[in-house]
Each structure stands twice: as C-alpha cells, then as structure tokens.
Symmetry: C2
Subunit: 434 residues, 2 copies
C-alpha cells in the first residue's frame, strides 16, 4: 500500500525528534496504521545534526510544503504565530491535514484555523501543544467525553515546576534557582514566557475549550507568575501542610468558567504535590469518573515528538482504514501481530526481598549467604532484628538482580536448612526506572 | 438528526451507572457527537432502583437486543464469559457495534471476537475493561502510538490496593483488613479473583496486547496474590525505603515479553507508590515519551460508566461525522460551542495564604485581623515567628474561602498600615477535592 506522505516544517529540537521517532519506530508505526509513513518533504533553512535526513527532499521555503501536491499531512514545527499561521492556512487551502505542536498558534488563532479547516474538510491535530508527551487532549476530548468536566488543574510548565521544586528541596531563592535552570537549559535566556505563566496560559486556553466546549479565549486568562515566591513562603506553606505549585486552573462554577494561572498552595498529600522537577501533570475531575491524573514529560525533543507522531498516526489511520475499524481493535492490525514469545517466570530477572525466621544460633547466616553466593546471588542490604534469647530471629535481605530460577533454587536449599523455621517470604523488587 | 440507538444488556451496578451518565449528560454528549444518543432497548430480568428506565423498551432475554434491527450499538454489561460471549457474537452477526466492560471476556475470548467483528465490519470497544474510568487503552493504543513501549506496570485492582494501603497505614495483617474491605463492599464474599491476582491478570493481558501488538494470551500470565504478605514485610520494606504494591507488569525484554502479576517492592519516591486506597494507576515507559502515569478510579458504577459511555461516544462519532473531522477539533462540534462566560479573577473564590512582615509593636495584629473581619474574611490558621527585638516580624496566615475582590480590598487596606513593612505575599490555596 502507498505510504502516508508527511511534510515536516521546521527542523529544530522537536522537528529533529519527530524525524528520529518516525524513522526509529517506522515498522511498529506501519503495523499500527496499516501502511508506512514516509517523510516526503522537509522545510528547513539548514540541516540539524541531531537527525539524518539523507534522501529526503528539503526546501528552505516552508511554503513549498504547503503547496506540495504529494503531501497528505503537513507537520508545523516552526513555532511563532505569524509565519506559522500563514503556513497552516496555506496548507489547509491546499487540502493538507495539519499536525502542530504550537500552543501559541492554537490558543491565539485556533478559532480561525478550525473554521478554515472545516470549510476545506481537513483535520487539525495538536496533541503536542499541551503537556508535551502526555496524551491529555485525547484523554479530555475522547477518553473522558462521557463526563461533565468540573475542573482541570495542571502543572503545565516544566521550567516553573523545576524552579519551585529546587527552591523547596534546597531552601534556595527564586533568582538563584532560575540561573541554575538557565545553565541546565531548562529555562530560556528570557524566561518571561515560562515563569510569568504565559506558556501555561496558552495551554490552559486549549484545555478549557476541550473540557467545556467553549471557544479559545486566551486573552481572558488571568495570569500570575512565580518570580515573587520566596524560600520563606515555601517553608511557611510546608509548615501548614502545603506545597506551592504553579497551576493552570479551569473550573466550571455553574455561572461561568474560571481560567487562571498562578502559584497555588496544594495539600502535600494530593498526588499532584508529588510531581517534581521538569515533569508535567494534569488533574481532571469529571462528574462520572471523579478525580483523575495524567503525568509525564511536558517538553523535550522526543516526548513532544511522541505526541506529534501520535497525531500523524491518527490521521494516517483515518486516511487508511475502513469505517469498521478506525483504530485496530488491539491498536495493531490483526495481520501485523507479533509472534514475540511470552517468557516463563523462571526467565524473569529482578531484585528480590527475602524474609525468613531462623533459630538464634551460630552459623545460620553463613549457611544462607553461602547458598545465595553459590547461585550467583549477591546481597544489596540486610538486617537482622535483635530479639530475646531463644526467640526466632527475623532476617530480611534485599538482593541484586538475578534470574528467578536461580532465586527459586537457592530458596529451596535455604528452606531445607534445619535452622529455618517457617515459610520464606520472597517478594520481587522493581525500581520502575525509565 | 436521527439519534444513535444503543441497547444496554445488563442493569447491575455498571449498567445503571451507564444509564444515569447517558441521561444526566445527554446534552453535552450530543454536542460532542453531533446528534443525541438514545437508549432504545434494555436487557434485564428486573429493574434496578438505582436508575430510571421509564419509557425504555425492556427485554428479559438479552438476545432480543442482539437481534433488534433498531440498534446501532450493543453495550454488554452482563459479565461472565459464557452467555456474554454468545451474546456479543450474536450481536456482531447482526451487524451491531459492541461496547463491553468485560475484562474476562476480552482477555479469554477477544481473539475470536475480533475475528468475527472484522469479518462483519463492526467495531468492538472495551476501554472500561481495564482500570475503570482511566482511559488507559486509548492512551496506550492511540496517545502513545508513536512509541516503542518498553514496559507497563500498573496497580490495576482496587481491592488489593486498598488492603495493602490499610495494612501499611494501620500496621494490621492481611486477614483482618480483608474482613474490613468485605464489610465496606470493596471486596467480594469470595475475594479470590481480586486478591489472588486473576482480575489483574485479565487486565494485564489486554494492556500487553495493545502495548506490544501480541495476541491476547491470558493463560501465559504468571500470577501471585497478596494473601501471604504480612505486616512484618510491609514494615521491613519500609525500612529499606520501599513500599509493597500488587502490580501487573508487562515488559519487552528484547527476546520476549514478561507478563506477571505479583506483590512488588517499589521505591517510596516513585509516583506509583503514592497511589493509595481503591485508586488505580498505570505507568507506561515509551522510548520517545519516557515514563508516564495515568491515575483514577478503577471500579465503581460511574467511573466504569465513564469509560463505557466514552466508547459509545466514539462509535457514535464514527457513525455520524464525515471523514474530515472524526473527532471535532475541540472535542465539541463548532456549532455546539457554549457561550458560558469566562469569569474575571475578582469573581473567583478560594482560600488564601498571606505572608507579610510587620514592626514588632502592640496592636498590629489586631489591626490586620479587624480589616480581614470587616471584609468577611475568617482566618483558618496563623503563625507569627519569634524574632529578635526590633527585627521585622513575619506573619503568615491562611484564610477560609473568600471572593478575590474582598481579599484584594482587605490587602490594600493592610498594606496601608504604617506597621506593615514591605510587599504582602498573597498566594491562592486549592485543596483539589473531587
């Protein structure tokens, strides 16, 4: 089947991430859509060493893409609102479907863009414009579509969240942490957009429209930044049981919608309070589902590309499949299922927690550790509780990673030791590192 | 436009929740789809006082629905795998699209059901079968479709998580907490399905297929329950910096897939460790997006109905809209946007954190509290730090809920007091209660 032809306008951080994801996962993506994606045209003034575009047509003028009759989809990643707006409207005029990561463009010009797209019969997808890799617009507009949404509250600017997290963890003041964030590349030289909440206000505008079915109204968002927060405030909030987060909040009060971005005290025990560093998270409270939370990376080349390419896949599916199975039942097409084997539990490798009770006599621990070591199992941590004489002694240990089968054999031998008093508890350990 | 006609088979907890959500949010749902949903036929042996089905055709034999030529969609909520399988296959034969919340049915008979549906050209949607109201299948199969999924790890059984949370918080043993869970209605009289991990294994089977594009293979899931975990283990894990959760884990190791449900130690600082009580959460690690987490209610009438009705909306949209705009750009159709006003910040009501520095002299606090009280602002908590003589004294207070305008006026008056030394910090407080 003929590939879905995509043009990518802009080859900066997100553009190169998009090229890399489309190339690296080309096979899996084709299994999901039913046919391959081809990057047929790139619009960029210069190549980006972060990706390989050998053999792909490149135009310095991005408007060449808008007019390219070959393209099914134009991916707008040039940023800004002036040229980007013109580019998107020109591409729509030429019948291209649009994917964009541009929150300012959608928040400020979305109403006009959607009107034009509707007239021309094309789709506009912008999942990447809010909270980067988190599929939050899909969750809100489709996954939770049964609900009357009561409110949405999100940490939707990673720079601001990084700064507030550092201020809290290290007791340092705003200006100092901002410098560090700039050195690490988390904050721009001119940080206004992030720390004064304009970026978050763009995203909140989009979230609110999808939550409540209201037009995009960026100019009506109340916006307050975090630059006035002091280390003293963070400490005082903590004293009262709160932490300070920079939130975007959209709430249906029954007689109107609140749209506001500002520093906010939230109770330390709510999940949102545990979202730290550059990570983003959005809470949604729906009348049927209750409180939900969606967490992930809100920025960066590949997390943003994850959302851009998801939109490309969605449009690719719509251009490909029959009505009966718009999204394949199991995400991948039935004739493209993998025969990857399911491994038996003996082949699984992880760390283990082991707890047993032994008689308090010399040599028992030596026996246990010898058996473990014979099976190649090394101990990461251990403790043995002091108890009264002649009481069974609890021994608890954590091992390094080892195959399940080795652990099973070792535990069988340990269980056979005379000094081991009852069943041994064995629980697997996962650190859930990315 | 003629409504989308839906038949609901089964009027238990989830069935009545589905009726209630479809009725209560009928207007918003119609704005999302472009035409209304009509519950045209219910299959139930008896009415359920939890919902009102006046005027709706009811059949005691659910197979009447499968054969009803009026219906576009059959919603299967009878549970079990024998009759449910036959019902779904019969409805597919008669050209109905299917929505189901039945994890056992999909995990054990999904491959055959999808084959039949594909041949007949109908869709089968089952978002509610995994993690209740969390739109996790959509996130995995669509929102994160650009990624090669590395692993999925989830708390996907609320009963088990409630028991482990109680054991940890109260230092109590399994058997005792299980009884409490049964009394609260969180655990069945026969709790095997939940606490031995069979329910979680059904859900993991479905998650793994969508993550990796492998056929549903329920029989290959390794399953271990939580009934052997003791209070001693939970305490020992805590000592090492871990907490114990009952996880379903699906991992692509590169030479096969691990599918396993078992108690797991996870570091206390990962977000999943903060998911407590009956709540569910699923972590997904994708090669582009990195770690993500999706949190919400995993069971209950309306959270499950939220997912059932989202699937009905999705099918309703597919049956309604033209290709250009399968999901409306902003979730709601352009001609159905709300004119709900956006409120000014002065109309917003919330609690406030106030921090200021004052001269250490008699009467200052009295002045401040008088101004607040004149504006109807009451103080929830307050502290004043001891400092050396003649130093500025920091005063921090938290108020009860009050309109922004009243607070602004009060703060203007307080700022004008001679004893108030510098800018007053005012931060809004949100408890994020559902």
């Amino acid at each position: 089947m003929k590939p879905v032809k995509v043009g990518i306008a802009g080859l900066g951080t997100v553009g190169s991430g998009t090229v890399n994801v489309l190339q690296r996962n080309a096979q899996e993506i084709a299994r999901r859509i039913g046919r391959p994606i081809e990057i047929a045209h790139i619009g960029a003034r210069r190549p980006n060493p972060a990706c390989n575009i050998d053999g792909i047509r490149v135009s310095a003028d991005v408007f060449e893409l808008a007019r390219d009759p070959e393209l099914d989809i134009l991916v707008e990643l040039i940023g800004g609102t002036t040229t980007a707006r013109e580019l998107v409207l020109t591409a729509i005029e030429h019948g291209k479907h649009i994917v964009t990561a541009n929150k300012a463009l959608i928040a400020e010009h979305g109403n006009a863009i959607f009107r034009a797209a509707h007239e021309r019969g094309v789709d506009v997808a912008f999942e990447a414009s809010v909270a980067g890799g988190i599929p939050i617009l899909k969750a809100l507009g489709e996954g939770l579509a049964a609900n009357h949404i009561k409110w949405v509250a999100g940490i939707i600017n990673g720079t601001g969240n990084f700064i507030l997290t550092e201020m809290r963890d290290k007791g340092r003041d705003f200006a100092e942490v901002l410098k560090e964030a700039q050195a690490l590349g988390y904050a721009e030289a001119d940080p206004t957009f992030d720390v004064e909440g304009i970026d978050a206000a763009h995203k909140l505008t989009i979230l609110a429209s999808i939550a409540f079915g209201i037009p995009l109204q960026f100019s009506k968002v109340y916006t307050e930044g975090i630059s006035r927060i002091t280390a003293e405030d963070i400490k005082a909030a903590d004293y009262f049981g709160y932490c300070i987060k920079h939130l975007g909040i959209a709430k249906d009060t029954g007689n109107g919608v609140e749209l506001r971005v500002h520093p906010t005290l939230i109770p330390k025990e709510v999940l949102l309070a545990s979202v730290n560093g550059v990570m983003n998270a959005v809470m949604i409270d729906g009348d049927a589902v209750g409180p939900t939370l969606f967490y992930g990376a809100g920025a960066g080349a590949e997390p943003t590309a994850s959302a851009v390419v998801a939109d490309v896949i969605e449009l690719g599916r719509a251009l490909t499949v029959d009505h009966d199975e718009r999204v394949p039942y199991l995400g991948f097409h039935a004739d493209a299922m993998s025969e990857m084997p399911v491994l038996g539990i003996d082949e699984v490798e992880c760390s283990f927690y082991i707890r047993l009770h032994v008689q308090d006599r010399t040599g028992v621990l030596a026996d246990i550790t010898r058996i473990l070591s014979d099976k190649g199992i090394s101990i990461e941590a251990m403790y043995q509780k002091d108890v009264d004489d002649n009481e069974p002694v609890p021994v608890v240990l954590m091992t390094h990673r080892i195959r399940e089968s080795a652990m099973r054999e070792a535990l069988e031998q340990i269980a056979a030791l005379e000094a081991v008093l009852d069943d041994i508890m064995r629980i697997r350990v996962e650190t859930l590192d990315a």
